[in-house]
Each structure stands twice: as C-alpha cells, then as structure tokens.
Amino acid sequence: MDQTLHVTLTVNDQNYALRLDPRTTLLDALREHIALTGSKKGCDHGQCGACTVLVNGRRINSCLTLAVMHEGDAVTTIEAIDNPTITMLQAAFILYDGFQCGYCTPGQICSAAGMLEEIAAGMPSYATKDLDATPQLSGDEIRERMSGNICRCAAYPNIVRAIEQAAP
C-alpha cells in the first residue's frame, strides 16, 4: 500500500495541513492540494523555471522538490500579497509589458525576486567579472541570472527592463 504522510506547509504565511503521497512535488501540492495555481507547470523537469517559488527566501524549482521535504519552511508564491518585492515586480512587468501570453510570468517574477535578494547579498554570477568585488545589477547580470527562466514568447527585452525598473 502506498504511504501517505501528514505534512503542514506554510505558504504565504498561511498554514495548510495536508495528507500527501510522498511522490507529490511541492508544485503539485501548491496547485492541486492548496489550489494556488499561480505557480505554473511548464516542463516539470527544472528546465523552464515556470514553477519557481521562494523557499525561505530563496528561489527554487518547485517541480524538483517533494512537498514532504518542506515541513517548517516558509514558501512564497506569486499569490503573496504582502511581499513588497513581488508587488513591485508585478507592477513593473505590467508597466514595461514584460510578457506576452503570461504563462511564464509568475515564475519570472518569483525568480526575479530571489535574484534581487541574491544580488543584495553579494552573491556572484557567471557574468560577474571580478569575484572579489560586490556584484552590481546590469543587463548582462540580469540576463545571466535569469537564464533559468524560459519565455516561449521571447519577451526577454521587456523582462530585463521591468527587472531593472523594479530593482531597489
């Protein structure tokens, strides 16, 4: 008989007590069990970034992690209403038309929110010329750091503009 496990997930500051098959990914738990369908399933293999959420403030692919591994973690999705960075990015994506069909947008915005935190924490990227210096936000840095998020409509130029605009 298949195992089911009790797990309490904390998503956008709300607790959800769930009974899950351990095979349930965090993405499927969000979409199918909590009805937070903002996080999208694109490839389901960590290649497209549409499922990106923040876990304890860090961006991850929610399709490549099991929900039962996240008891006690703080999960933030595109539905978070009191996350100022996400709110700012949402406004900037609208202002700069950072999408066409919109399917990848929740992942783009959560990824950008995590990326701005990483920059603020001084974390380098492949585009960072000097590893000893504090990385600065630039077009090259944004493009490299957002390479885990694919946009099938290729709205990339406006996604970069929106992120530049939303950056503190």
Binding site: D21, G46, R59, L64, T65, M69, Y126
Partner: protein
C-alpha cells in the same frame, strides 16, 4: 513515478544505517537530478531518506590553509563563499557555470559529485542503455552522440560526466570523505571516486551501498592564476561540450582538468610539465576516440587549451 517510502534522517549515522537495509534506498538532498530521473522512471528507489536535516552544511577552514566543505553545502553558497572566491576562484567559476540559479540553490556538494550523465539514451527508457539496464546495449555508439565522451569510454558506454564543479575539484586534488553504515569513515581521492565504464557502466563510483559523502576537503591550492573556461551551445544554462579548469603559474606551466570530454572528470598529470599548448593537447587527448557526432570535441579541446594558455599568459 514509482511509489517509495519516505523518511527524514536527523543525523548521518541514522541515515547510513537506514540505507543499509538491503532495499534500493537512496539519499535525497537537493533532489534536482534524482527526482528528474524518478519522474522518467530511470531511477525507481523503494525508499528515500531525506538528509537535509543532518547538518554537514558548513564550510570550515582547515589547519593547513585549505577548506572543509560539508556535503550539504548548496552549490550557490559554495560559489559565493568569500574564501572560495579568494583562494579557489576556479571552483566558484565552475559552479557558477553550471545549471541555473534555482538549481544551484538546491543542489549540494555531495549530490553534484554523484549526478548522473545527461546521455539522451540513458534518459530514454525505450532505448537500450547499459548504464540504466545492464546488458541491453548502447544506443549512443551509433546514435546521436554530440554530447558524449571521447576519453575513458568503452564499447559498453560513451556517456560523458556532466559536472562542472567536479572538474574544478579534480584540478584542486580534493579528498571526498564518506561514512559507511558500520560507522567507519573513508577518505577517497577525487581521482578515485568515479570509475570508468568498462563493462559495468552502471557502477559509476566506488561508493558502497549506504555509504554517504559527508564532506569534501580541499588542500591549499598550488600558486598561479586559476581559470575555468566552458565551451557550450548556449551562453548560459547548458552542459559543457568542453570545459577546462586550470592553474597557470608565473612561469607559464599549467595544471589542467577537463569536463565534457571524459567518462569521468578528466586529468592527465603527466601533462603538467609541458608548456606548449599542442604538446599538452597531445598528452591529454592520447587515446581519444570520436563516435561521429562528437568527433569535433577532439580539435575543440585542443583549441580550448590554446585559448586558455594564450589568455592566461597575456595576464
């Protein structure tokens, strides 16, 4: 995905003990490679042991001026560590050249060393693959093999090792420490961790059932300029066709390790004494065999060696 039982370990000894029960039990840390393979039923463990809460997630100085890296340190944190950036920039660069930021936030030091090949046929359960299904054959030999290895391969398997991080660690002469289910520990030179495919490509490392990587020790680096140069089909978020990790000293002598071309992280120590790029390439590529679509990797490796040395010597 095949069903499995899930448990969370609270310390390393409990994890290894639980993994020695005779079933197909796997540790899960970042899970970014394992869950991908489980969804495709390339992997189908009976049990998963979550090792994210057993500690082993810090980076400590060693008395001789090196670093001791916990197996659960995330790739993103290792790349960003101030000591790694200063003393081992080749490791930071290699890590940052791999995967995407989301994956690096989850992927761990131990897991990265144990990640599986991205051979298309290993991933496709409708095709023969000696690594996935021993004895079934190798569809890559006469198939699409643009990403495959040219060194260390066999008639059974031509898969390439996919890691960037492991190439830098191979260059830096890392030691991998493990814990076995009986409580004993082992220190394994990274050169000895991965096995060549031979006739048993399903055996990728010398680790025993239930043996857990606990840390990676880096000795102080040899002096010189550290470089990681990765050649790939896209500018970001792609595996290496050829990658070179190198330390070039002030006399122009180079130590190098290679990704993308070998069945395991590739290094030819005897080339360390050579200065001329083509002599180095001759030594490194001795015995290289192309399989059609990947023939280009042999001259590409030679040109990448030249480029690395030319740029380093320019200063």
């Amino acid at each position: 995905m095949k069903s499995f039982t899930f448990s969370r370990a609270t310390n390393a000894n409990a994890a290894t003990h639980a993994a020695s029960n005779g079933h197909d039990t796997k540790f899960i840390a970042g899970g970014t490679n394992l869950l991908d393979l489980m969804k495709l039923q390339v992997e189908g463990p009976d049990a998963l042991i979550d090792i994210n809460h057993i500690g082993l997630d810090s980076i400590e100085d060693t008395p001789d001026g090196g670093l001791e890296i916990g197996a659960l340190v995330r790739n993103a944190d290792l790349a960003a560590d101030a000591r790694v950036r200063k003393i081992y920039p080749v490791l930071s660069r290699a890590l940052l050249a791999g995967a995407s930021p989301q994956l690096r936030n989850k992927a761990t030091t131990g897991g990265n060393l144990l990640q599986r090949t991205r051979c298309y046929y290993f991933y496709d359960t409708t095709k023969p693959c000696n690594k996935r299904a021993p004895g079934s054959g190798c569809a890559a030999l006469a198939g699409f093999n643009r990403i495959h290895a040219v060194l260390g391969t066999s008639e059974s398997c031509i898969a390439s090792h996919p890691s960037d991080m492991a190439i830098a660690m191979r260059l830096l002469d890392a030691t991998v420490e493990t814990l076995k289910p009986d409580g004993s520990t082992a220190a394994i030179a990274i050169a000895d961790l991965h096995k060549l495919p031979g006739e048993t490509p399903e055996q990728e490392t010398i680790l025993e059932r239930g043996e857990l990587i606990t840390k990676v020790i880096l000795p102080p680096p040899t002096p010189g300029k550290q470089v990681y140069r990765k050649v790939r089909d896209r500018a970001s978020y792609a595996f290496a066709l050829v990658s070179v990790a190198a330390i070039i000293d002030k006399n122009g002598a180079a130590k190098m390790a290679f990704g993308g071309i070998g069945a395991k992280p590739w290094r030819v120590e005897s080339a360390d004494d050579l200065h001329d790029a083509d002599e180095i390439a001759d030594a490194v590529l001795a015995g290289a065999i192309g399989h059609g679509s990947n023939d280009f990797k042999i001259p590409l490796t030679r040109r990448t060696i030249r480029a690395v040395l030319r740029d380093a010597r320019k200063g």
